[in-house]
Subunit: 213 residues, 2 copies
């Protein structure tokens, strides 16, 4: 059965972005530090069209996280272009002509929009009728493979709080941001049931797997 | 050189206590769940004068955390008895006649008090001139061994924020509390420099070591 999988890089103090995000620093102050471990990996660079990169203890984790994904879910914030109606010359996403997803991507938004087809198998579908509908559509589109949940934190919190995530991987960077956007927030009153799975010491990061139930 | 070591059980979402602490639930709602992994261990039960208990993958971690400790530091809240002046019949601590520390304990407080000697080598010293003085006194009393920092969260935050902790062990329980007291809070503006150390999959808990610098 198709699973909903979620992986995210998080600081030691639980932030997925630093304070004061801006155009220059969309992940907030020092938010980039959370992703240092992955940006230097060949396993990340190659699918993003970049040369070089390391092979290290985190490589098999990244390969595994990207394996078997048939569709992607994300929030409007991660797709980008700011809030509100799409306008006449709508935002095309951060990723250029050939996004690295190579799969249908379902974007949660309050504003309707026609699907946006890109090269390499990525088509963005805009879903306006809620997280459960988006998940259903993504699972159907995944054709038996799994669905990967991207960010941002608010979308992740909604899926976590609704108990819809089957597998969570936290990539814990040894960084204390002190402020910013927390992954685990706005969950008071939700019954989030996760049990510990694998624990892998990566290179400059710790990979913690949690499973539903 | 004597090190300041800190270990604490924390929920997956970063809380060290649940919401709404009360006399019946001093650790807040579901706060006890954070400590389930340790309360069942023989390595915890024996020094606390209790029979039985398990030996499992977390046993060597607990033995190691308790080894080589020559003095303990804690906040007034962990020592207990409520805030304010000590009064005429002052609180004697939670731990009965023979506390499990077997070492000098330095309690941070705003209210002066004579040392309180208990059986088995535990004497509580009350320190009113700040965290750095308390650490100095504890290191001197430790006689070459290390100092263990207990709770609560506010004291831990002060030592973390001041960069005085040499070694942190987070015992991450697979529990999402949703609300309560966060370990990593009130640290905005502090430069907390930690690097990842060992990662150990325990029994119902994940042990993450972080080292200063």
């Amino acid at each position: 059965m198709s699973k909903l999988r979620f992986q995210i890089s998080v600081s030691l103090d639980g932030f997925v972005a630093g304070p004061n995000p801006s155009e220059e620093e969309p992940l907030g102050e020092r938010g980039e530090d959370l992703h240092e471990w992955v940006l230097k990996l060949e396993a990340w660079r190659k699918p993003h069209g970049r040369e070089g990169g390391e092979v290290n203890a985190s490589t098999p984790v990244v390969e595994r996280l990207n394996d078997g994904i048939g569709a992607v879910l994300m929030g409007r914030g991660m797709f980008g272009g700011g809030p509100g109606p799409w306008g006449e010359d709508p935002w095309q996403g951060w990723w250029g002509d050939e996004p690295p997803f190579h799969a249908p991507v379902f974007v949660l938004t309050h504003h309707e929009r026609e699907p946006l087809e890109k090269q390499g198998g990525t088509t963005f579908h805009f879903v306006t009728d809620g997280i459960e509908s988006a998940l259903e559509q993504a699972k159907e589109a995944a054709g038996g493979k799994d669905v990967s949940l991207g960010g941002g934190a608010d979308v992740a919190q909604q899926y976590l709080g609704a108990g819809l995530i089957d597998e969570v991987w936290l990539n814990v960077a040894p960084v204390v941001l002190g402020a910013g956007t927390r992954l685990f927030d706005n969950l008071a009153g939700s019954e989030v049931a996760l049990r510990g799975g694998e624990v892998i010491a990566g290179a400059g990061v710790t990979h913690l797997q949690y499973l539903a139930g």
